[in-house]
């Protein structure tokens, strides 16, 4: 469904993403992990059309999407959420989600029905009349997810939708994501919460300092010395093994 090869993106002298390749098959949940500043969000932004990569190819559903603006990529069926949540502050949750729903629905009452259904799906049914600005962190994260989902995507790019949530909230959102996949949406997610990654993802990629250093099932990755070192520092793998 998504094939990324050799994507690079620099900011000034900094190579935030450096020759990264990955692929996602329809129906999968794939995790993208890596330490802070690894370039994960930058890679998402490039996929969704927010940054034009300096090099590389992005093929979504058999179509080269490099250079397409974000709204066209969203219309093609790939939508991102924001790690730093971007709610529409002065309108209600219902209206926020309707913005997403209007992508494929012209009629107001149908868009509202869709927004309410999506809100129920992500557990926001009770907050429909609250303003974007009045939501808690957990509420904002759910809203990111709900708005993206309302656009009717085939591939969801979720950027740390669990950061800042408490364990109960994480368990809830893990269930929500599982249900989204079951409804036929493919998911690529960035996540630091390992418990969630292991319980959700079929496969994972590990990014470190802009480079992809490992990929595979979670068991494979956990046993990969390069990954352990990326997280814990140089030499850590040997220390752990000893």
């Amino acid at each position: 469904m998504l094939e990324v090869s050799g994507i690079s993106k620099s900011f000034g002298g900094l190579k935030a993403v450096d020759g990264v390749s990955l692929d996602v098959q329809a129906g999968e949940i794939v995790a993208l992990i890596g330490p802070n500043g690894a370039g994960k969000t930058t890679l998402f932004a490039a996929l969704a059309g927010f940054h034009r990569p300096d090099a590389g190819r992005i093929v979504f559903d058999g179509r080269d999407i490099i250079g397409l603006p974000p709204h066209r990529i969203c219309a093609a069926g790939m939508v991102r959420t924001f790690q730093i949540t971007q709610p529409f502050a002065k309108i209600t949750v219902r209206e926020n989600i309707m913005v997403g729903a209007y992508l494929r629905i012209d009629d107001r009452s149908k868009a509202r029905d869709r927004a309410e259904a999506v809100a129920a799906q992500v557990g926001m049914a009770a907050q429909l009349d609250r303003f974007g600005a009045d939501l808690t962190v957990a509420g904002r994260k759910r809203l990111e997810l709900a708005r993206a989902l309302a656009t009717g995507p085939r591939l969801l790019l979720l950027d740390e939708v669990m950061a800042g949530l408490n364990p109960t909230e994480i368990t809830e959102i893990v269930e929500v994501i599982r249900a989204i996949r079951a409804s036929g949406v493919t998911i690529l997610l960035i996540e630091h919460v390992m418990q969630a990654v292991t319980s959700l993802a079929d496969r994972a990629y590990v990014l470190n300092q802009g480079r992809m250093i490992a990929e595979g099932t979670l068991a494979e990755i956990a046993g990969n010395p390069a990954v352990v070192e990326a997280y814990l520092g140089h030499g850590a793998a040997e220390v752990l093994r000893a």
């Binding site: 959420t81 529409f88 309108i91 209007y102 992508l103 656009t151």
Partner: protein, 320 residues
């Protein structure tokens, strides 16, 4: 909702009967309120809903006023026919300004200043070109027949302004309950999020400014037909731009009734201060007393009621 419908019906009935019972002076004031509310709604669409603050909306107003006036005087068009042509011209100017500024990525105060620059450029052009009769202004020959969009009895301008105001309210109402309006608000609230959700931010801004241009231009023609005279300062002056911005900000940007409430408040203040200045000797020398009151009012609104007077009418429980 039913209470609102009841209030609206009441207000409508009052507006309809006012000219039949009130003195002529009040009819003119009422006409002014509805006219201001109408052109204010133009600012509200691009500035309030879509969040693209403009300091130069007079560019659209003046384009409308000059287009219909030139078509009448120079080309002998009927004023009613010239009206839609003026609106088209306003929409085109809106489209051009939008494409130029938003392609260049101008936002916020940069965009506001560009609109001001356009209005000033148009004012200077109108002041120096021969086909606009330069600084002399343009005088429309008085021939008060309804077929000419001229009326002997000011009551008809009152009703026409009322109709325009109602149309503008209906447009704003549609915006609050449709896809276009939802997208404009999304663009105002957060462009990146809007983009991520499939909105062509550039295209939506262009639509907003074109629509705003058409409406303000319609107001320009109305003005020209009412006073039968326009000149570059009246048509493209900063005053008009500020007026359109002010009624919307005071009344409530991005709300249906904001421009109408603002027009009521500002016209009311204007009339009261004018009367005061002519009656109370102490105020005689404080010439533009209304300007001072405007200023104080704007400060109060910005500080105390950033969402405008419309907020006073919104049910509080919505926010709880």
């Amino acid at each position: 909702m039913t209470r609102l419908a009841f209030l609206l019906a009441l207000a409508f009935a009052a507006a309809i009967t006012l000219p039949l019972v009130a003195p002529g002076y009040l009819v003119d004031v009422g006409m002014l309120v509805f006219f201001l509310a109408f052109i204010g709604q133009s600012w509200n669409i691009s500035g309030g809903f879509a969040g693209q603050t403009s300091f130069g909306h007079a560019v659209f107003f003046g384009t409308g006023a000059y287009t219909s006036t030139i078509l009448q005087i120079t080309f002998g068009w009927n004023a009613w026919l010239a009206w839609p042509a003026a609106m088209l011209a306003g929409a085109i100017v809106g489209w051009i300004i939008a494409v130029l500024s938003f392609r260049a990525g101008l936002r916020g105060s940069y965009f506001a200043l560009i609109t001001l620059a356009f209005a000033e450029a148009f004012r200077i052009l109108a002041n120096s070109l021969s086909f606009t009769h330069a600084g002399l202004g343009m005088l429309i020959k008085a021939d008060p027949r309804p077929a000419n969009f001229q009326f002997k009895d000011p009551i008809w301008f009152y009703y026409l302004a009322l109709a325009l105001c109602i149309v503008s309210l209906l447009i704003a109402w549609q915006l609050t309950r449709g896809r276009l309006g939802s997208r404009l608000v999304a663009v105002r609230e957060n462009e990146d999020a809007a983009r991520a959700l499939g909105i062509d931010v550039f295209a939506e801004k262009v639509k907003a400014l074109s629509l705003a241009g058409a409406i303000a231009a319609a107001g320009g023609t109305f003005y020209a037909q009412k006073y039968l005279y326009i000149d570059p300062n009246i048509a493209f002056g900063v005053d008009k731009s500020i007026e359109m911005l002010l009624v919307t900000m005071v009344g409530g940007a991005g709300t249906i009734f904001g421009p109408l409430l603002g027009a009521l408040a500002l016209t009311g203040i204007n009339e009261v201060t004018r009367t005061l200045a002519s009656v109370v000797p102490a105020f005689k020398n404080v010439q533009p007393l209304s300007l001072i009151v405007y200023g104080v009012m704007l400060m109060l609104i910005v500080g105390r009621l950033p969402d405008g007077l419309a907020r006073l009418f919104r049910r509080v429980d919505r926010h709880a």
